[in-house]
């Protein structure tokens, strides 16, 4: 579904990604993990076509991103980025509506009607009750769910999420991750997430890619790659990893920064 080949990104003289190659299969959930500044958000933006790499090529469904227009990319890939500026006078339903631009085009956006994809996205993220609320007046959690609804309204087969659980309380974190899992299973969505919580990444993702200093350090299924060695090498912490009784997935606890 997604093939990123030898991606190199430089900001000035700093090399943020150094010949990173990642492949994501159709219907797979891939989690990108690593320390702050390791390049995981940058990689996500490259996959969404928001940041042209200095070198390397990204293919979505076989087509190089460079050969696709912005609208064509948006019909294939939706991304929830880390933050959004204040949007001024705009209700939640108007916000979600903007997700339909890629499909409907400027002419199709002139009408006022709400289509099925908008309603589904709002129902899935439980923001139907907030439909008429002003986006800038929402709490952090409500805002995050509204933004997720905007991304889902694009109805794209690939969903990229940059720390989707930020601003959310424990319950809403679970709800968002469970929702993404349901969409992945029911609609065959291909998902790439940047997640800070390694236990969450291990629990939900089919595969983990750990980045360190702009290169892929380790990749593979969670139960194969998440161990104390990874905590030390990638995150710089001493910690323990055990298998959770309920999910059978690795869980981590962090004891101290390793020297």
């Amino acid at each position: 579904m997604i093939e990123a080949e030898d991606i190199t990104v430089r900001f000035g003289s700093r090399t943020v990604l150094d010949e990173v190659s990642v492949t994501v299969e159709r219907g797979e959930w891939l989690a990108l993990v690593g320390r702050n500044g390791c390049g995981k958000s940058t990689l996500l933006r490259v996959l969404a076509g928001l940041l042209p790499p200095a070198d390397g090529v990204v293919r979505i469904q076989g087509d190089p991103l460079k050969s696709l227009s912005r609208r064509e990319i948006a019909r294939r890939v939706a991304i929830l980025s880390q933050s959004m500026p204040p949007v001024g006078a705009m209700t939640v339903s108007q916000l979600v509506r903007q997700g339909r631009y890629a499909v409907r085009g400027p002419l199709g956006m002139l009408g006022n009607g709400q289509d099925a994809a908008e309603r589904t996205a709002m129902a899935d993220t439980a923001v139907l009750d907030l439909a008429d609320a002003q986006v800038d007046h929402l709490s952090g959690g409500e805002r995050q769910r509204a933004r997720l609804a905007l991304a889902l309204a694009q109805d794209a087969p690939v969903l990229l999420l940059d720390e989707p659980t930020t601003y959310l309380d424990v319950r809403h974190q679970l709800e968002v991750l469970e929702l993404v899992r349901r969409l992945q299973r029911e609609r065959g969505l291909t998902v790439v997430t940047v997640l800070h919580d390694l236990s969450q990444a291990a629990r939900y993702a089919d595969r983990i890619v750990a980045l360190r200093d702009g290169v892929v350090h380790t990749q593979g299924p969670a139960d194969e790659v998440v161990d104390a060695g990874l905590l030390h090498a990638v995150f710089g912490v001493k910690g323990r990893v055990w298998l959770d009784d309920l999910t059978g997935k690795p869980m981590c606890s962090y004891d101290a920064a390793s020297s």
Partner: protein
């Protein structure tokens, strides 16, 4: 409630514009014959219509600029658009150049040069703030051109100069209304097509790109279309100041940043200001742009100070 109030206000303003002045024409005589009829039909009606058209166009253009640059101070006066149009027409008048299609074509050309200078300088600069700063500089330069030209002007041209310095609806006839009406009929569908991208642009450039809109390209299209709207108005009425700022602000106060309400407020503002300009210091007639500038600056300061109170720095 507010909408009903606006509708009543609109009717009052329209009837008032037709009645007030010398001679005063009573409601019952608006459609009677004689000299009063000529005053109403040949002088006041075209002036009223041109005011409505100009105000509506400026309101929509102002909204397009403000929304696309995500800045409530992105007004035609600060982007080199009005300045370019006004300077071009003034130069033509002062140097007695006979240009085909005057004043429309010189105004469009001037607006294109003003906006083009701004856009060209903006290329490579980052963000909406840079656009505004550069636009303000370009506007100042064009204003200087206009002033320099007016220094060379004949005293006969004073009326024309006041129009293009301040904006005025004095001496409007049906031919003006017709040309402006046709020009706006051509540009309006383009403006309507721009409206969806304005909403997407509100999300920020990156989120707009994720949603499938190339923000940079969309912004150039929106700026081009709003320049056309502004050029048409400035070519005939001069730069009626701050309508492009005020109308969207009032629409926002209604809780909507819609083009429709921006158009309504723009039209009503110009007609109200023109009515005041004709009557307040009667028999002296003020340039309408002088009045709107005073109101605009007052509201602008109010908006900025309210914003500061809401969001402590």
């Amino acid at each position: 409630m507010i909408r009903g109030f606006l509708a009543v206000l609109a009717v009052l303003l329209i009837i008032g514009s037709l009645m007030l002045g010398t001679p005063f024409v009573g409601v019952n005589r608006l459609f009677a014959g004689g000299i009063e009829h000529i005053v109403v039909v040949e002088l006041r009606a075209p002036r009223l219509l041109l005011g409505l058209l100009a105000g509506g166009a400026l309101g929509v253009a102002g909204l397009m600029l403000q929304e696309s640059l995500r800045n409530p101070l992105a007004v035609p006066e600060l982007l080199g658009v009005s300045g370019g149009a006004a300077a071009a027409v003034t130069v033509c008048v002062v140097f007695g150049l006979t240009v085909p299609g005057a004043p429309l074509l010189p105004a469009v050309a001037g607006a294109a040069v003003g906006a083009g200078l701004t856009l060209l300088a903006v290329r490579g600069a980052v963000g909406p703030e840079a656009t505004l700063l550069i636009g303000a500089a370009v506007s100042a330069a064009l204003q200087a051109v206009l002033l320099a030209a007016s220094a060379l002007a004949d005293s006969r041209d004073q009326g024309v100069l006041v129009r293009y310095l301040l904006g005025s609806l004095t001496g409007t006839d049906w031919a003006d209304v017709l040309v402006v009406g046709i020009a706006l009929a051509v540009v309006t569908p383009l403006a309507v097509l721009c409206l969806p991208s304005l909403k997407v642009l509100r999300l920020g450039d990156e989120a707009a790109a994720s949603a499938g809109l190339n923000a940079g390209r969309a912004r150039v299209v929106v700026l081009t279309v709003s320049c056309l709207l502004i050029a048409v108005v400035v070519g005939f009425c001069g730069p009626i100041a701050w309508i492009g700022f005020l109308a969207p602000q009032l629409a926002r106060a209604l809780g909507t940043a819609s083009a429709f309400w921006s158009m309504v407020f723009g039209a009503l503002l110009v007609v109200a200001a023109d009515l005041a300009a004709r009557t307040v210091l009667y028999p002296i007639e003020l340039p309408v742009g002088g009045l709107t500038a005073v109101i605009g600056v007052a509201v602008g300061i109010l908006v900025l100070s309210r914003r500061r109170r809401r969001v402590p720095a």
